[in-house]
Structures are given as structure tokens and as C-alpha cells.
């Protein structure tokens, strides 16, 4: 096991339990098999990299490991090293391969077989392969590899039972003779003692040996592919044609704008307006809150401390429920439904290709569009998703921008709802300021961080019709997760605010913060409580903004500041988890500074020039100046240092 790197998770369960590792290329449907075997739910989507962690569950006498998709297990990245350890220590590997992309997938299959572990192959997505005119001879494939091969269409539940039944027949396959020879030679040279798998992994850590082994393996895979696949030419499927069009700049970009516009309309206009009117004002404030007051009013005096804590302005029995169920749940449901459709159809990777050029400006590859879009759902989750980015540099930029600029679904809904009633010019100002911060901060980070943006290498999954069952299940699971996570924090937030109000501390805090809120941001003193709530959860802060009487200009300043304001408690914890502690702290403090500086600058500009156009223009100029200074110093530093050879990967 020393062949791979040390892995942070415990992959040695109690002896006597057998280890079953699910492995395969990205986007082949491993999670569907995992869900079936263990009864646990893990995310299923139509883009590479849906599973970023290793999940474990039980199936009969097996401990089952679901792994992120990999193309091979050499030490190209952390995930590959970790999976290498898992595979070498496995009692059985269930290798899931995609019938449509067999020439790619078999490369990993061969590598697993070369390690000598017992293997069962599940040949997934046979229906899609047939539609594309590919006929695969499972019997010949099984004979060539020397392991059982089970055909399946996992998303439709076909072949899952058969796969499970075939697990007992798993056995080591035929290793490649040429690689066996290469390995034997290498072992003699290095005097390497240890298992076959460990030796193979160690040999393939050597760059020259690896390329040689990969070349042999590629030849072998191509030979097997030709032996088992018969191709009958069929016209391009509708999905393939559509996939092409979506990448064509003249069609792709308008569609991209259209998709984002549709999302704005759905969340901001339809749900935040019409639906929330019914659920929040109608159901919760019209029936639920009066019901609670009438029920408890006779027992607890509404003016008493207990009364105010339980069902006052921030009552723990009223406010969290009204906000969560009346306001945020409809928004979150709508957003996750929309996102699940996009994921299932396979649109996100195409967005990544279209936005690659633009994101390069801020030091990111197109891949970063996936965490950003997911960030509109939940910044906490999206922060984990940045693991699919190829370099630490990219992760650093993406996580900071996620924490700073991207509002989460609950917040976004409130935001679009609040914006929709404003003067269009003020909406424009908000958008301009946010974009300027996004591009400006990204550009500055790209220039001052050492290194170069990574290159995009991304497999585009075929476009497919969404599986409604998968979409609905995902929407419900994600929304329930949201409620479970948010509810205790909302109750806690209500309790904190209620106590502050009852003890009179709230007024004192507001006075204390007034130089910042009133003097600098030109907002009423009560907005201090929005920021207190925003620290617990940003959406809680945004929701509190809904009922606050503000002039239009004030609303924009408050929205800008709050959107940029520190990420919610959970997201902040995630930043600390995903980044080194010191870096996390620097990010968190910087976000405070940037949020209040931006809000303040906009407020001051608005007050001085009394013109939205001037404010927007001067703000852009101000950030361009900052970026210019950053570029200047970065150049200066580069000149001072000897030129370093570019290190890739």
C-alpha cells in the first residue's frame, strides 16, 4: 500500500469485512450502482465529477466504496492517488464502463486488471450505444478481459440485480503480457518486493515507465475494442446535433444568456413574486402566525419577555417558520429543480466550454463555471465542488469569488424579488457593481498569485432527455438538506436577535454600528441587524431586508453590501475546511473589507453625484485603477525574480 500516497481517510475497516470498490471513468453512472447496492442516496448528474468524495455503505457482507471518476490511477491528482490505494486494498472491484465510450473506459479496466485484483465489469448505457449504432459483444469482451461482464442500463434500473448477483463470480482477469514483462524487468532492476499491484503502481509513478506502459495498454485496448465492437453508421442523433449547435458561438451564447434569463424570470419574477405572495404573505403571515399568537396569547402575555422571544418580531416559533417555509423553501425548490434539469440534460459542461475564454481573464478555466452555477444553489456545496478544478491556484480564486460575489439560491430569490421592483437603472447599477467586483477581484488575484491558469481538458457528455424521476428526487433531497441545515441556524439566529431586542442590546449595537451603517453606507441604523443575521446566514439577512422600508438607492447599497458580505456560517466553515486555516481567515476578513468598502463607495458616489450613470462609471474606473496597480506590482516582482521554469499540473 506504500506504493500510492498516504490517504487521509481510513480505508481499512475491521477484518472479516470484504471491501468492494466501485471504480470507473467520470460520468459512467457509478453512483446509480452505489445507490442500488447500499440504499443510500448520492448525487447523480450528467457531468464529469459529480462524486468528489469517497462514500461508503454496506451491501450484505461487503463494505461498498463509491469513488470519484478517474481515467487511470497514476498520481495525476489527489483523487487518483486515493483511489489507487482503495483498488489495491480491495477484495473486489466493480468496474463500471460506459458502452458509448468503451475505447476510453477500457483503459482503466485494463489498468485495474493489471494489478491482479478480482474484477466484475458492468457495461452500462447499452441502450445509448445501440442508438449510436454500436453493437458490443459481451461474451467476447468477457473472454478477452478474463472477468465477468454484465450489461446494464442503470438509470432505468436494468441490469442492477444481475450485476449484484455476478459479484460472487468476480475474479482476477488476464494481465497484459507485455506489461507483465515490463513489470518483471523493472522489479528485478529495482529489487522491488511487494504485491503485484503495489509494484505496478510504483512503476507507473516513474514518468518514462508510465508512458511506455500507457502506450502498450492503449494498443491493447484498441485491439480489444476492435474485436468486440461492430459499428453501423447511423445519422447523428438529435442529442448529438443539438450538442453541436449549443457549442456554435452564434447559437451557444444566445442560448446561454437565454438560460440565465429564464432562471432569473423563474426565481425572481415568478417564484419570488407570485408564489411567495401566496406562501409567505398569504399562508404564513395570514394564517400561521395569527394562529400561533391566538393559541399562545392567552397563556403567555405577548408583551412579556417570553412572549416576545416565542412569537414576537423575532419569535422562534414564528420568524424561522415564516422565512423558511413561506419565503425560502419555494425559492430553493424552484432553483434546485432548474439546476437538476440542467445537470441531467448535460448542459453544464457545454457552458464550461463557452465560458472558458472569459474565465481565463480571471485565472480560471471554463470548468469553474460549474462551481459558480452550483454556487447559486448553495455556496457551501459549491465550495466542495471546486475540487474538480485542476490546480490549487484555481481553487483559491474560485473559492474566494464564491464566498464574495455569488449569492446562494435562497438569497438570490430574495435579491431578484427585491430588485425586480426597483428602477431598471438601479438594477443595472447593481449588476454593473457585482460584475466589476467579480472581474476586478478575479483579475487582481490572477495577476498577483504565482503560476498560470490551468488548461481545460473536459469530456462533454452526450445531451440527453432529463430523467424526471432523477430530477425530482434530487430536487427533494437537496431541498430537504437545505431545510435540515438552515432550520437550527434560523432558530438560533432568531433567538440571538430576540434576546438582543428584549435586553435592549440591539438598539445599543445599532448605535455603535451607526458610523458604519448611517455615516458610511447612508442606511438607516436598523440595517445593523441585517448584517448580524447575515453572519448566521446570508439569506436570513436578505429575507429580513424584505420587510425593511428603504429608499431605492438605499436598497441597492444594502443589497450590494449584503451580497458581498461574509458567507453564511456553514459556507465559512467549509472555506476553513477546504483551505489552510490562515488562508481561510485572510479570505474571511478580506470579504468584510471588500463588502463594506464597495457598499460605502457606491453610497458616497450616489450621494455626491446624484447620478446612477456617473456612479457606475466611476466605480468601474476605481476598480480598473486598483487592477492596474496590482498588475504593475506583479510585473515589478517578476522582474526582481529570476525566471522560473514553468511547472505544469
Amino acid at each position: 500500500m506504500a506504493a500510492c500516497q498516504k490517504s487521509p481517510i481510513n480505508i481499512n475497516p475491521d477484518s472479516g469485512v470484504k471491501k468492494l470498490v466501485l471504480a470507473g471513468n467520470p460520468n459512467v453512472g457509478k453512483s446509480v450502482f452505489f445507490n442500488y447496492l447500499t440504499g443510500l442516496y448520492v448525487d447523480v448528474a450528467n457531468y464529469p465529477g459529480t462524486t468528489l468524495d469517497i462514500y461508503t455503505g454496506r451491501y450484505q457482507e461487503w463494505v461498498v466504496y463509491d469513488t470519484p471518476g478517474i481515467y487511470g490511477f497514476s498520481s495525476f491528482n489527489q483523487a487518483e492517488k486515493l483511489i489507487c490505494d482503495l483498488i489495491l486494498g480491495a477484495d473486489l472491484v466493480l468496474n463500471i464502463v460506459n458502452a458509448v465510450t468503451l475505447d476510453r473506459d477500457l483503459f482503466l479496466t485494463r489498468q485495474i486488471i493489471d494489478t491482479g485484483v478480482p474484477v466484475v465489469v458492468a457495461l452500462n448505457m447499452g441502450d445509448e450505444a445501440a442508438r449510436r449504432g454500436l453493437r458490443i459483444d459481451t461474451a467476447v469482451l468477457s473472454r478477452e478481459l478474463g472477468v465477468p461482464v454484465v450489461p446494464a442500463v442503470a438509470v432505468e434500473g436494468k441490469g442492477l440485480k444481475e450485476t449484484a448477483a455476478a459479484l460472487v463470480q468476480g475474479k482476477p482477469g488476464h494481465p497484459d503480457p507485455a506489461i507483465t514483462e515490463q513489470l518483471a524487468l523493472w522489479r528485478r532492476q529495482k529489487q522491488f518486493n511487494g504485491t503485484l499491484g503495489a509494484a505496478l503502481a510504483a512503476m507507473e509513478d516513474d514518468e518514462i515507465q508510465r508512458e511506455k506502459a500507457y502506450y502498450i495498454r492503449r494498443q491493447q485496448v484498441n485491439r480489444v475494442y476492435r474485436a468486440v465492437v461492430t459499428e453501423t453508421p447511423v445519422g447523428a442523433t438529435i442529442g448529438a446535433k443539438l450538442g453541436c449547435w449549443l457549442l456554435h458561438p452564434a447559437i451557444g451564447l444566445p442560448v446561454l444568456v437565454g438560460v440565465l434569463g429564464l432562471m432569473y424570470w423563474l426565481l425572481g419574477i415568478f417564484v419570488a413574486g407570485d408564489i411567495v405572495d401566496l406562501s409567505k404573505d398569504g399562508l404564513m403571515q395570514g394564517y400561521y402566525e395569527p394562529f400561533i399568537r391566538n393559541l399562545l396569547g392567552p397563556v403567555i402575555a405577548p408583551e412579556s419577555v417570553a412572549g416576545r422571544l416565542f412569537f414576537g418580531e423575532y419569535g422562534i416559533l414564528t420568524m424561522p417558520f415564516t422565512l423558511l417555509i413561506g419565503l425560502l423553501l419555494p425559492l430553493v425548490l424552484a432553483f434546485y429543480f432548474f439546476l437538476a434539469m440542467l445537470e441531467d440534460v448535460g448542459y453544464l459542461p457545454r457552458m464550461a466550454v463557452l465560458t472558458d475564454r472569459m474565465l481565463k481573464q480571471i485565472g480560471l478555466s471554463g470548468l469553474a463555471v460549474i462551481p459558480f452555477i452550483l454556487g447559486f444553489g448553495c455556496v457551501t456545496l459549491a465550495t466542495i465542488t471546486t475540487r474538480l478544478l485542476p490546480s490549487e491556484r484555481e481553487r483559491r480564486i474560485a473559492i474566494f469569488l464564491l464566498g464574495l460575489v455569488i449569492p446562494c439560491s435562497a438569497q438570490l430569490g430574495v435579491l431578484t424579488g427585491l430588485l425586480a421592483v426597483l428602477d431598471p437603472a438601479l438594477i443595472g447599477l447593481f449588476v454593473v457593481v457585482m460584475l466589476t467586483i467579480f472581474i476586478g477581484v478575479g483579475t487582481i488575484m490572477d495577476r498577483i498569485l504565482p503560476g498560470q491558469p490551468a488548461d481545460l481538458v473536459l469530456e462533454l457528455p452526450p445531451l440527453q432527455w432529463p430523467h424526471l424521476r432523477n430530477v425530482l428526487r434530487k430536487t427533494v433531497v437537496k431541498s430537504m438538506d437545505f431545510l435540515n441545515e438552515a432550520f437550527p441556524l434560523f432558530v438560533g439566529g432568531a433567538l440571538v436577535l430576540g434576546s438582543l431586542q428584549v435586553t435592549g442590546l440591539l438598539t445599543r449595537l445599532e448605535v455603535l454600528a451607526s458610523p458604519l451603517t448611517v455615516g458610511w453606507l447612508h442606511l438607516p441604523p436598523e440595517t445593523a441587524r441585517i448584517f448580524i443575521m447575515g453572519m448566521v446566514r446570508r439569506d436570513l439577512g436578505a429575507a429580513a431586508l424584505v420587510d425593511m422600508p428603504l429608499a431605492s438607492e438605499q436598497a441597492v447599497v444594502a443589497l450590494i453590501t449584503l451580497t458581498l458580505f461574509v458567507p453564511c456560517f456553514a459556507a465559512a466553515m467549509m472555506i476553513f475546511k477546504e483551505r489552510p486555516k490562515k488562508e481561510g481567515l485572510v479570505m474571511w476578513l478580506l470579504i468584510w473589507v471588500i463588502a463594506f468598502s464597495t457598499g460605502g463607495v457606491v453610497a458616497q458616489l450616489l450621494a455626491t453625484f446624484e447620478s446612477i450613470l456617473w456612479t457606475a462609471g466611476l466605480f468601474i474606473l476605481f476598480l480598473a485603477l486598483l487592477a492596474g496597480i496590482a498588475v504593475f506590482f506583479a510585473r515589478l516582482r517578476e522582474k526582481g525574480q529570476p525566471v522560473q521554469p514553468m511547472v505544469k499540473g
Binding site: Y71, G72, S74, F76, V100, T101, D103, R104, F107, L108, R132, L134, E207, R210, E211, Y214, Y215, R217, R218, V221, A240, G243, C244, L247, H248, P249, P349, A352, V353, L354, D356, R357, S365, G366, A454, D455, L456, V457, L458, E459, L460, P462, K648, G649
Partner: protein, 80 residues
């Protein structure tokens, strides 16, 4: 000619991948020297999308500039 400036819609053959690290990765992905692919789409100043055996792969512009290719149609013309 590199992958970055090859004409769209053409069948091309990969002759040289200049980045050693990407060469190994490309072997895993099924792209290697001698392989033919279709250049499906090239986003102006952005990534290049290639198709091979029903699979589509997007390759960043800078990486594409490091991959030498020839047109398969021209190859045939030279030989005959």
C-alpha cells in the same frame, strides 16, 4: 499546423503532443500520436472541441497550440 489553427469540420491526425504530462493523460483518454479525430468546433480564441468515436472532448486553446496535427485529406493527396 496545430490543433488550435486547424480548420473546423475536418478529419485530422494527431502527430505530436508536445507536453509530456498531457501525453500520458491523452493516452488514457484515447488520444495519441497517430490517432485520427474530427475537429468539431473551435470557439474563437477559446477551446477546441474534437470528436472521436462518438465522444466529444474540449481542449483549452493553449494546450491545443501544443498539439501538432495534419489534415487526413491532405495526407491521402500526397500519397497518391
Amino acid at each position: 499546423m496545430t490543433l488550435a489553427n486547424a480548420p473546423k469540420g475536418q478529419i485530422i491526425r494527431i502527430v505530436n503532443i508536445r507536453q509530456p504530462l498531457f501525453r500520458s493523460r491523452a493516452l488514457g483518454l484515447g488520444l495519441f500520436e497517430g490517432e485520427t479525430v474530427v475537429l468539431q468546433e473551435a470557439i474563437p480564441a477559446g477551446p477546441v472541441v474534437i470528436r472521436k468515436n462518438q465522444r466529444e472532448l474540449a481542449v483549452g486553446r493553449r494546450l491545443a497550440e501544443d498539439i501538432d496535427v495534419v489534415l487526413v485529406s491532405l495526407e491521402g493527396a500526397n500519397r497518391s
